[in-house]
């Protein structure tokens, strides 16, 4: 059972959303329930029990003392990193991208009377699909922090880590990104275990992503990118690979 928390300071809209949600959950027999529906951020945070990976439906334009929609989302992300954030907004096409990027908001519900019901239905269906997918494939992630945002990168996508030209900076390479964060290769290596291999002082590569080994030139092809391979690491790597072959 997944708990849903609802927070909107517009009582009328909140009631409508709640009714539509409950009806949809009942009809489709989703494994969800609304445990908290409130107009204040403080109340929601107090009501938050021990259970995690909940669904939070929050108003973008929430104003409650020091809290607004973004800060409440930030706080919930901190307390429940695996939770799902859904935002309620009055402007359909002006969806707030900042929420999406910085809080990894899952979806939006558009508040206007005409679109409300359809967007809640669409949102819940998408949510159900994702939950089904996650239940079958539990994903291991590596978490990096840039500024105040946390990024979770599935271990399967990571090609290699590389020390950046600037001290204390590390670059994480995936097939479609290159992320810069503060850290040290030694710490990362210790935390990730034997799935990753230190091929060089400046490189930590995913063993299963190695495509080609070229010890003669001290190079390593990892997922189409080139990494450096030190001599000692080359020997070690051959030992590692031999039993497989």
């Amino acid at each position: 059972m997944i708990d849903i928390y609802l927070c909107d300071d517009d009582a009328f809209a909140r009631c409508r959303i709640q009714t539509i949600l409950e009806k949809k959950i009942l009809i489709e027999e989703y494994d969800m329930r609304i445990v908290c529906s409130t107009d204040s951020a403080g109340q929601l945070l107090r009501a938050l029990g021990d259970r995690r990976q909940n669904i939070y439906i929050l108003d973008v334009e929430l104003k409650d003392g020091q809290w607004d929609g973004f800060l409440l989302g930030r706080e919930l992300r901190k307390r429940d990193p695996g939770g799902i954030l859904i935002y309620i907004t009055s402007y359909g096409d002006l969806a707030c991208r900042t929420f999406q990027y910085h809080l990894e908001a899952f979806d939006y519900i558009v508040k206007t009377p005409k679109q409300l019901e359809a967007s809640i239905h669409r949102c819940l269906e998408a949510l159900q699909n994702r939950l089904l997918l996650e239940r079958t494939v539990p994903v291991q992630v590596y978490t990096i922090q840039t500024g105040t945002s946390l990024r979770h990168i599935p271990l399967d996508e990571i090609l290699f880590f590389e020390t950046a030209p600037r001290p204390h900076h590390v670059l994480l390479h995936t097939p479609d990104s290159r992320l810069d964060f503060l850290g040290s290769l030694n710490e990362i290596q210790a935390s990730l275990g034997n799935r990753f291999f230190r091929s060089h002082r400046a490189y930590l590569v995913a063993l299963d992503k190695i495509r080609k080994i070229d010890p003669k030139h001290g190079r390593l092809q990892v997922g189409g990118r080139e990494c450096l391979l030190s001599r000692t690491a080359g020997r070690e790597l051959r030992k590692l690979m031999d039993p497989i072959q």
């Binding site: 707030c96 900042t98 990027y101």
Partner: protein, 456 residues
Amino acid sequence: MSYADLPFWKQFLFTCEDHLLSHLILLLWLGALFDTPSKRQLLKKLPLLFLLAPVTAAVNWGAAGIIQNTPLMLLLYLLITLFFTLWSMWAWHRPFWHCLAAVCMAGMMESSLSVIFIHLLYACFPIVSPERIPPFMTMCLLWLTLPLSHFALSMFPRRLWQKERFCTYLEQAYDPRRTALLLAALATAFVALNHMQYGVQPAYLADYLLVVAVMAILMTALVFHLTLRDMDLKRLNLQKDMLLRQQLYEQTQEELQDELRAFRHDCRNLLTGLMEKQEDGTLSRSFQELETGFEKRLGEKIRAASQIGNLRIPQIRGLLLHKIAQMAEQHIPCHLEVLYPVDHADMDTWDLIRCLGILTDNATEAALETAQPWVEILLLQEGPVLTLRISNPWTGNEDPEYFWRAGWSTRGSGRGMGLFSYQKILKRYPGASSSTRWGGGIFTQELTITVPGGRS
């Protein structure tokens, strides 16, 4: 024993050594004017340069039979300048005119200072003179002091162009070609001045050296002054433009206020008319009309204005207004989001503006290559942390891994240079980290600026 009495091969070797030494000195000066993107890469390209010494020595040797004095000297000078320019284009990935300017500048330093050093050497060690050849080893040791003293002096321009090198300033120059050609003319004059040492009577040698020294100092100061002036001019122009945008922005603000006043007027009219309309069922329709009208007329404007209003650093507001206006001219829809007021960043404002400018220019350029261009700019300030996020659609034709290599470009040299400068600016800020994503046909550059040292 004099130079002419030496065996043929020894004479050639001496000429070679002479050329090698002057090339080494030229390289030292070039290194001081350029910045090194990667020392290893540079070392790999170095051997080719040593091939030049025997080549120029051979040309010197071969051509000496046909032409002498000034034409020979000019021929060699031309050859060396051309070769060095091409080589530095290859080594530093810079456009031709930048390289030519830097090589000429380095050449001037080399030829003027060498004259002074050599004559100082003659004065201090009487055994070394153009007429007599001392034992080979002593000679080598003495000549070795030349590059060392040049190296010591080349620290001086490093200090002059402290923050960034001479070549970065060249990028800012209005007309790099004109600058390069003027520098080339000056360098030629210096080479001629260098050549004059052989005709100066000993009694006037001190005066001659004084003139050379003063000219060298004057020339360096002048070039430094000119690059600074060019930069200031450019900055001033940008500021002027930003001021203009600011005025335009204020104008839209006023328009918005007028519209709001009109809306308030409509609202009051409507409320007074409410009572009468209540009976005939047109009430809800009137409300709807009012709302949709308001949304259509003002919704997006108010939203955009409040986002721009959240940019509390005037220069950044100016720059973004400028860039958004540019995008509008090119029919690229731009979505700007500034959730919280942006009032400070742990970065020099001008550096931040350059970063922002480079990122938006790249985004615009890449977006233009796609069928449906758009650009999205998000700024988020959370306490001391400022995050910039700029996305655009892209064709996916280039491998993003090449973007960070120096000099990468798809057309011309502007784009790769931009990202290279961007990386160079960030090098000065340990708290800044820049990430890139390019999945799903969308290219995103993200820059996070935190207080250095704080891993918060």
